[in-house]
């Protein structure tokens, strides 16, 4: 049990992350990632672009993985979550040279809304950190949006801060 720390004590400012509207193409999103994140001396991890609708409501997030999947439909094949030894996937190995070619350049014109991770799970600023941890673990999320009064997007919680906080409780025997 956390010693009473709430989400608002750990959350990051939304303006730490680039914003785009859902109608931007994958190509435009790539340009923004390069300019806003990759060229900076210190890239904020996990890398994410926040996707909004026309009324500035958060509708999703975009990671490197989302983009690569969007550009190369053959990456859409489901993969095992376990990171054990994997036998050579001969069906795919024959294709390595054909991946990320002309077709991907065409795919880059698709709207980002087709490849983003939709924002479905939220916490409130006064929620306990343990609730954020629960949602992030159960839904495999690296970032969790924070909404004030179930509406206004005010911040983001990262797994790194959640882990740091909860692991301190264990090591220091708090709670």
């Amino acid at each position: 049990m956390s010693n009473g720390k709430t989400v608002k004590e750990l959350m990051l400012d939304v303006f730490e992350f680039p914003h785009i509207p859902y109608w931007f193409s994958i190509r435009q999103a790539i340009g923004i990632i390069k300019k806003s994140l990759l060229t900076k001396e210190k890239c904020l991890q996990p890398m994410a672009v926040l996707v909004f609708d026309e009324k500035y409501n958060l509708v999703g997030t975009v990671s490197f993985k989302n983009i690569l999947r969007g550009l190369e439909p053959r990456f859409l094949k489901p993969t095992s979550k376990a990171q054990g030894h994997v036998e050579d996937d001969s069906g795919l190995s024959l294709l390595w040279d054909t991946l990320f070619n002309k077709e991907s350049r065409e795919m880059a014109e698709k709207p980002i809304s087709e490849v983003m991770t939709p924002a479905k799970h939220f916490v409130a600023p006064d929620d306990p950190v343990t609730k954020a941890a629960y949602l992030m673990v159960h839904n495999d999320l690296a970032l969790l949006p924070v909404l004030e009064n179930n509406k206004k997007f005010v911040g983001l919680v990262r797994m790194i801060e959640v882990f740091d906080e909860l692991s301190n409780n264990i090591l220091e025997g708090r709670g």
Binding site: I20, R27, I30
Partner: protein, 245 residues
Amino acid sequence: MERPLDREKSQKLYVQLFELLRGKIETGEWAVSTQIPTEEELCKIYDVSKATVRLAILELVRQGYLTRQQGKGTFVCKRIIPEGLTMSTSFKELMLEAGIVFSTQTLAQTVMMPTDDIDVKLNVPEDKHIIYIKRLRAVENEPVLLQEAYIPYNICPQLLADDIASNSLFELFEKKYGIKITKITDFIELAYINKDEGKLLDMKEGSPALLLEQHFYAGETQVIYMRTIKRPERFRFYIELERKG
């Protein structure tokens, strides 16, 4: 063989390069709509750094000679601005919509990063958050203009919560936020509308329309870049010039 830049000259290299490239556009050597060489190619051709090339290109974009399209390249624009047409007048005469009763529909009021050449047009760093506003205005239910406004987020964050359907940005800036607009520059040209614009304005894709680009300044800082597409048959321009002093 390209003419080399004169490194002995007191004039900065990027200014020399800017003038040289502008000459190519004005003489037609680089035709309208053609893609110009990449930054890397220009570095090699003129034996200058990437920073020099970038500054020269940015200035050409700012002055309307070139346009950048994200991921595609930089292209020569249709517009060539003759020198000596700078005019001074009062703001009232520049508000071309004066006297017309509009109904306004807000299509977007959100935050984004600058894309294509918006960073240059708004004169902000390319990783800066900006407020994006898109409005469709109609007269007697007929859409007549489509307006997009870009504002640096830090200038006026409260704008995201304002009623922008019934207030003009100009009035909100001046009356509500006390940001005094001290200069507006306007560029007017003929444009051909794209599919999305056509759908909103109830016009066929590729139809000619008036494009008005406006840059609003508060002192030295640009606070709004506005791009308005107007149905040509609904507007006429009236500008009154008054000699200063």
